[in-house]
């Protein structure tokens, strides 16, 4: 795919700069506070191996345009998957219709966009890699997983790759584009022993080339982890029920931050006053050991973007600094309405969705504690190292996330593996109970997908080993 989004849309669809300017720059811009046009062309491919063979392969092309007009708090949004000019003009007309009734408000002067990052230019994007190499890799994963343990009965390995070209045009004719590669490899294993079956799942990826999976045989690590989890769970005992000390391992358990504080710090909820964190900037919301950032600028990460989906360069935003709430994540609309600057967090699933304030890569900075010491400090508790999904009610602040690999801690030592259990806590309260922060910050392997208002976007999380003094574990062992 072309590296220049402007040229790509001009050559392929005849949508030159003068055409987009005409669509947005004329009648639309004068009557609204903000207007933009978002063009997207996406090609994706998925290969799935099961029962030892790649029997499913698919390729998808989607293209379309989203047009947005905003006046005050009103947003008109129209999208079409037909990029012919008359359709775009109709979309502009529909988006504008909603802004027509708006009162007087000044047009925000657009400053020149700072130079975007270059976080994931690849010599060969994963979509372009020969499909035979991908099929071979999936077969090797299958063989490795089956060889790892005789109890493995089923291996499902999938490899998805996509390339997305976007072009965003603002009302005064500025444009910015991005070409976004993304890939994800997932390994799921079913193990069986004496009639008991269990599942293990592991994977990773990012805005990176296919070679990522081959570095140090990373694919073998993914397969081994999936097998290890499934086999381990065959021997798991019932999880405890009740409130106890919990130690979270590094990496993917950072989903805690995503649910406990991340969503609650998104600008839309805070403008509307519907978040448990609304109006709490400057207040203590976590232990002084806790600093949480959202950083969209880390090279090749799944949650990273050169520019967000409103053309704002991404950046590193400090959300909580030494326990004090410092800022929210903003898109253009909510930033404008609350007198803040956009933070590069305006994201959308596709052209069919208006942007919302969303996270990128959200993680806690490392502390000083030795991870081993943190576990040894707990007499009785739970050590959770892997999780499935999580969810939050941003208004009450209550959040859950489900452990898929966890162990009891007894007398300072990690002992029996326990069955999966949901952990539940209260966002504004949970991080105040963080008493130890390890020196082992790790980002996740690159598998996260976040859902909000029916829109899914790729995200990352990260965490060092931490100790939380009191969180409710939803097991069955009373």
């Amino acid at each position: 795919m072309l590296a220049h989004p402007e040229r790509f849309f001009a050559d392929r669809f005849g949508l030159s700069a003068s055409v987009t300017e005409r669509l947005l720059g004329g009648t639309l811009a004068r009557r609204v506070d903000h207007a933009d046009l978002y063009l997207e062309y996406r090609v994706s491919e998925e290969l799935v191996l099961e029962e030892g063979a790649v029997k499913k392969a698919s390729r998808h092309v989607s293209q379309g345009a989203g047009v947005r007009a905003q006046a005050g708090e009103r947003t008109g949004y129209a999208h079409t998957d037909d990029l012919a000019l008359p359709n775009l003009e109709e979309a502009v007309r529909q988006a504008r219709a909603i802004a027509d009734g708006a009162g007087e408000s000044a047009v925000v002067p657009l400053t020149t966009l700072s130079r975007p990052h270059d976080l994931y230019t690849l010599a060969e994007p994963p979509l372009a890699t020969d499909v035979h190499a991908k099929v071979d890799l999936l077969r090797k994963i299958d063989a490795a997983a089956r060889a790892a343990d005789p109890r493995v009965k089923q291996v499902i390995a999938s490899l998805g790759s996509e390339d997305v070209v976007v072009l965003i045009a603002g009302p005064s004719g500025w444009t910015t584009g991005d070409v976004r590669p993304l890939t994800r490899l997932n390994v799921t294993v079913i193990a069986e022993e004496q009639g008991r079956r269990e599942i293990g799942s592991y994977g990773g990826g990012g805005r990176t080339a296919f070679g990522f999976y081959l570095e140090n045989e990373r694919w073998r690590h993914f397969a081994a982890q999936a097998v290890r989890q499934a086999v381990l769970k065959l021997a798991a005992v019932d999880a405890p029920a009740g409130t106890m000390t919990v130690v979270l391992g590094p990496g993917w358990p950072g989903i805690l931050l995503h649910e406990a504080v991340g969503h609650g710090l998104e600008g839309d909820f805070n403008r509307k006053g519907t978040s448990a964190f609304s109006g709490r900037i400057g207040q203590k919301v976590a232990s002084e050991k806790v600093t949480v950032v959202d950083d969209g600028t880390i090279a090749n990460r799944r949650g990273s973007l050169n520019v967000d989906d409103e053309g704002v360069p991404t950046r590193r935003n400090v959300l909580i600094e030494n326990g004090i709430l410092r800022g929210y994540m903003q898109d253009r609309l909510n930033a404008r309405l609350t007198g803040q600057a956009p933070t590069g967090n305006g994201r959308r699933e596709s052209y069919a969705h208006p942007p919302l304030p969303r996270m990128t890569n959200t993680f806690m900075l490392a502390g000083d504690d030795d991870p081993g010491d943190i576990i040894r400090s707990v007499d009785h508790g739970l050590y959770a190292v892997n999780f499935g999904g999580g969810q939050v009610d941003i208004t009450s602040g209550k959040f859950v996330f489900s452990a898929s690999e966890a162990y009891l801690i007894e007398g300072g030592r990690v002992t029996a593996p326990v069955k999966g259990a949901t952990l539940i806590g209260n966002g504004p309260d949970a991080l105040t109970r963080v008493s130890r922060v390890g020196n082992d910050l790790a980002l996740d392997e690159g598998v996260g997908t976040c859902g909000k208002d029916g829109q899914s976007v790729p995200v990352g999380v990260g965490l060092p080993t931490i100790r939380i003094d009191g969180i409710t574990v939803g097991g069955t062992q009373v």
Partner: protein, 447 residues
Amino acid sequence: MSALLDLLTDVLARARTKGATEADAFVVEDQSFSAQVRMGRVDTVKHARDQHLALRVFVGRSAAAASTSDLSRESLGRLVDEAVTLARITAPDPLSGLADQSELARSVPDLGLDDPRGHDLEPEAKIDLARRCEQAALGYDPRITNSEGGDFGDGHARYAYATSHGFRGEYRSSSFSLSTSPLATHNGEMQRDGWYHITRKRASLDAPEAIGRVAAQRALRRLGGRRVKTAEVPVIFDPQMAASLIRHIAGAASGPSLYRGASFLLNRLGETIAAPSITIVDDGTLPGALGSRPFDGEGLPTRRTVVVDRGVLASYLLDSYSARKLGLASTHHAARDGSGVSVSTTNLHLASGDASPESLIRSVKNGLYVTELIGFGVNGVTGDYSRGAVGMWIDNGELAYPVEEITVAGNLLDMFRAVEGVGNDLVFRDRTAAPTLLIGRMVVAGD
């Protein structure tokens, strides 16, 4: 024949020319509108027009799929080439292929899924429905102080499906939805809840005022939520939450989970898996219902399937491929997406029992009434279940006070075997529906 079916016929013919031995394809065209009003003012209005076409080809016994939103002749040519090329790299599977030709639907029944006139409403009138819905919530009680908005949405879709072995079918469907999510505030505490209605006919939508009122009541009853001590107690699931439980049963009964060995219902056909009061039915033929469709994703006529019959697992939910894998016949539950065929339910429901919900609550001395569940703590392989819950504590047969920040846990098989009461309050508000359900014992974790 319609333009959509002509397009599919053309694509299938091209696939044959390029080397496909069999193929099927669907095309969907959708127009939708949505309006959100927040605190009485228009927040977001969306217009959308979507289309895409998906093709699946077989070259011998090797399969591949491709889809595109660009229906130009040139693009569809590329689509065919890509699908056929991909099918040459996938491994042959002797059980792959289209549905059994003799089972294809012979006609496309009119299930009343379409309401073309329902969409003839000016945007302002649609916005007004959203406004009235939110206003009814905001005006219900002074403690309702804020809102996530009132939402109206409608969509009108055309779906056509054709196969290289002779099936051609097409239907239209409408949907209308109205919802609101108010916030209740008291002494610095904030709680949000909501209520909604989705229908195929606009005239069947609940009055906006009725939806707003219920939404307000639901938000208000959460105020003062507290935690409870960890205990093993009876748990009542309200109808919406009981519906979520039968969704997990359907997931475990679906063919792809079974042939992969990833289901707690594997090898249990004919076994008692639930209390005798439990009958779970999936019926794709209900006129005007949200989950109804005249034929499944492989062109087989939809039907009524009893999944659990008085506690006994009576049927799995299968498409052609998973049926062949299991040595059974398709139950006509194929669902299509751009990547191929999977399984989905239609109108899945738990049959009504004879107890009133009030009598179920009265029968519990000390227990939990669940009104919301959050999180993904359900293991489809083992049935292990652990989710965050919100609800009311039941004290001596009365809903005494709201509870939150607790979990409910058990194992789905144990839970369904421990059912002690099924309500008489089944109402279809969604594709999946259930009456109130009383489970004898589950672990509630809190303090």
